[in-house]
């Protein structure tokens, strides 16, 4: 089997613990050299609200999250699995923008393992219909393939919202809600804890839009999980 990213041989070296574990042998879809290019966030200090890697001098929660706390009406925390470094940028380019759907296998086992034990309803961030038509897939549901999902969100056409100058930046950003609840899905989320899943957390606006919508619709609580931050 060849590496999905560099097409080189995947080294299938067997370790002693694998032999003694008596478990089915799973081979990675990516070679170890490519895998090492990604930088996991689970062993470093991260912001407890947005999951970014914290440098020594940064407060926890980070300054961005302080701002969000003042402007966003609901409690919300999000976690990410990897740093958005060069390797992740290149991965996203190939998976999402060039549209190589096979590459979902690079991270789907990891993301699915992360969600296997959750008691929360798993809600993926949707993509726009036109994107779905040309790309042919939603990059988030691709990563969650075979998990039970609650796809209650849809995108909606952007509309002009009032006098922009009257609002400050944060409320303005939040007023431009890009999502809507699909008809007849409110009952599914009422009083339920929810985990929202997205591919990349950049400014945090997208995932908060979705979180705000779900909270307003009656979700008990919402947390976020993204592949990269």
């Amino acid at each position: 089997m060849n590496c999905l990213l560099c097409n080189g041989q995947v080294d299938q070296g067997l370790t002693l613990s694998q032999i003694l574990s008596f478990q089915a042998l799973t081979t990675d879809s990516v070679c170890s050299a490519c895998r090492r290019q990604f930088s996991p966030l689970n062993r470093v200090k991260t912001c407890r609200l947005c999951g970014r890697k914290l440098l020594a001098a940064m407060p926890d929660p980070c300054l961005d999250c302080e701002k969000w706390r003042r402007g966003f009406p609901y409690p919300f925390a999000s976690r990410s699995l990897y740093e958005y470094n060069d390797a992740m940028r290149e991965f996203m380019k190939r998976y999402k923008f060039m549209g190589d759907y096979r590459l979902r296998a690079v991270f789907s086992p990891i993301l699915k393992a992360e969600l296997r034990t959750t008691h929360r309803l798993i809600v993926p961030i949707p993509v726009h219909e036109s994107t779905m038509a040309t790309r042919g897939f939603n990059q988030v549901t691709g990563l969650l393939e075979s998990l039970k999902l609650c796809e209650c969100l849809a995108t909606r056409e952007q509309q002009k919202t009032g006098r922009q100058s009257a609002k400050n930046r944060l409320t303005r950003v939040l007023a431009e809600q890009p999502f809507k609840l699909k008809p007849d899905t409110q009952a599914q989320i009422t009083a339920k804890p929810v985990v929202l899943v997205d591919d990349v957390y950049t400014t945090g606006t997208t995932i908060r839009h979705a979180a705000g919508l779900l909270m307003a619709a009656g979700a008990a609580s919402v947390v976020g999980l993204t592949l990269a931050r």
Binding site: R94, G99, D100, Y101, R102, G136, G142
Partner: protein, 442 residues
């Protein structure tokens, strides 16, 4: 975005890359990007037979995962082509090259012209430093005089980059273009196209004269997609020439079965023999390099070469070994200037240029510099020459870096290894055989 119809002559381009206006041009043929043949999706561009489990998308569409790096082909796409019109301005004296071919080179060159006149397929098996590029010139001149379109492709981008200026200089009144994945320059319809073999996926029945240089090298060898790209890029009436110093088994099989005709040139352009290799057995070399140390004998040799101002290339099998060997040399405090290079090195081209301009004493390199590069008057050292990475072809090519100019036609090729592996022995044998053939000729 493609705006002008000439950019589609002899090409196959995603319909969505064409301007709105051009999409409705009457000369354009559009084929579906994926076609169902005998119940199976096949990519029109790269001809890959697709596995339904991998090619399917949740939207119900299918896509080709084989040639996706050239832009995705899927069931919503079309592939646009305009028939090659050979619309080139007539050039009175196409060749500006004023050099001369030796009698042996001229004979091979004439053979190549005949191949293309007869629309055949041919392999020119010429030793490293035989002057393969110059031997193409009579063919190119003939083709230009007849208004034919010429494509010269190589699997290695470095080879293309080194080849292009030489072609351009030799035919300075003729339109030419260089295409590869990293080039920023836009595509132009030209009589001479120099490109990587991947770029050929964007051509369809374009070239009357098609030359593939360094044909035995990764990623071309054993890659059916690139072989398809070549046969699609040639006109049905076109001819094909393969060039290499080290043909692999599949090429030799094609010769044996009569699919390819073959010409040999066992002697270098300056008439001197190939430098033969010296095999030096150092049983502990692998273990020592692993501890970032070098055998004393190797270190002494490096010191002696640097002191004598004899420049050289130091080949190692892996990127990890680059650092280890570099560390060992810097610990030794030899006064020398060197760099390490590997394929993904962002400064690779600059370091190679520094070596060429003599501002370095040596380069420590992986097999990336095994071919297509010329540094006059160098020696070559190979560490762990018995490593799997060094195939016999790679070693022959590495040895071929030495003695390429007539001022210093000799030079040393030192293979350091713990065992005489079959590749090391095969390299030694092949060079001796070629020299044997050369002696018979002269």
């Amino acid at each position: 975005m493609i705006n002008h119809i000439s950019e589609l002559y002899g090409r196959q381009i995603k319909l969505s890359d064409l301007s709105e206006e051009l999409q409705h041009h009457p000369d354009i043929h559009v084929r579906p990007a994926l076609a169902k043949i005998a119940g199976r999706w096949v990519c029109t561009r790269c001809q890959a037979k697709l596995k339904p489990t991998l090619a399917g998308l949740p939207s119900g569409q299918f896509y080709c995962y084989e040639c996706i790096q050239m832009g995705r082909m899927d069931t919503l796409q079309g592939l646009a082509t305009v028939d090659e019109p050979n619309r080139f301005a007539a050039v009175k004296h196409p060749m500006s090259w004023r050099g001369h071919l030796t009698a042996l080179q001229a004979a091979c060159a004439q053979q190549i012209v005949e191949v293309f006149k007869d629309h055949r397929r041919h392999l020119l098996w010429a030793v490293t430093g035989a002057g393969k590029t110059e031997m193409l010139f009579p063919t190119i001149e003939w083709a230009i005089r007849h208004g034919l379109r010429i494509g010269i492709a190589s699997p290695r981008v470095d080879v293309c980059i080194e080849l292009f200026p030489r072609i351009q200089a030799a035919f300075d009144g003729v339109s030419s273009v260089l295409l590869h994945g990293k080039s920023e320059a836009p595509y132009q319809y030209c009589q001479i196209t120099v490109c990587t073999t991947h770029q050929l996926l964007r051509f369809y029945h374009a070239f009357d004269v098609m030359v593939i240089d360094e044909v035995d090298v990764f990623p071309f060898s054993g890659n059916p997609m690139l072989h398809t790209a070549v046969s699609n890029a040639i006109k049905p009436s076109g001819g094909l020439l393969y060039l290499t110093a080290t043909p692999d088994r599949s090429l030799l099989r094609a010769v044996k079965s009569g699919y390819l005709s073959v010409g040999y040139l066992p002697i270098r352009y300056h008439g001197h023999l190939l430098p033969e290799v010296t095999i030096i057995k150092l049983p502990k070399i692998a273990a020592q390099i692993k501890e970032s140390r070098l055998p004393g004998q190797v270190m002494t040799m490096i010191g002696r070469l640097v002191a004598a101002k004899q420049r050289f290339l130091l080949f190692v099998p892996t990127i990890q070994d680059l650092q280890r060997v570099g560390a060992a040399i810097s610990r030794e405090k030899i006064r020398c200037r060197y760099e390490t290079v590997f394929s993904a090195d962002p400064k690779r081209l600059e370091k190679v240029a520094a070596m060429r301009s003599r501002s370095l004493d040596f380069l420590i390199t992986t097999t990336i510099l095994e071919r297509g590069v010329t540094f006059p008057g160098i020696d070559v050292l190979v560490l762990k020459a018995d490593d799997r990475i060094f195939s016999s072809a790679a070693l022959v090519q590495i040895a071929g870096r030495v003695g390429r100019n007539s001022e210093r036609p000799g030079g040393q090729v030192l293979l350091y290894c713990s065992t005489r592996s079959s590749s090391v022995k095969a390299c030694d044998r092949q060079i001796k055989q070629m020299n044997q053939k050369a002696r018979q000729l002269s």
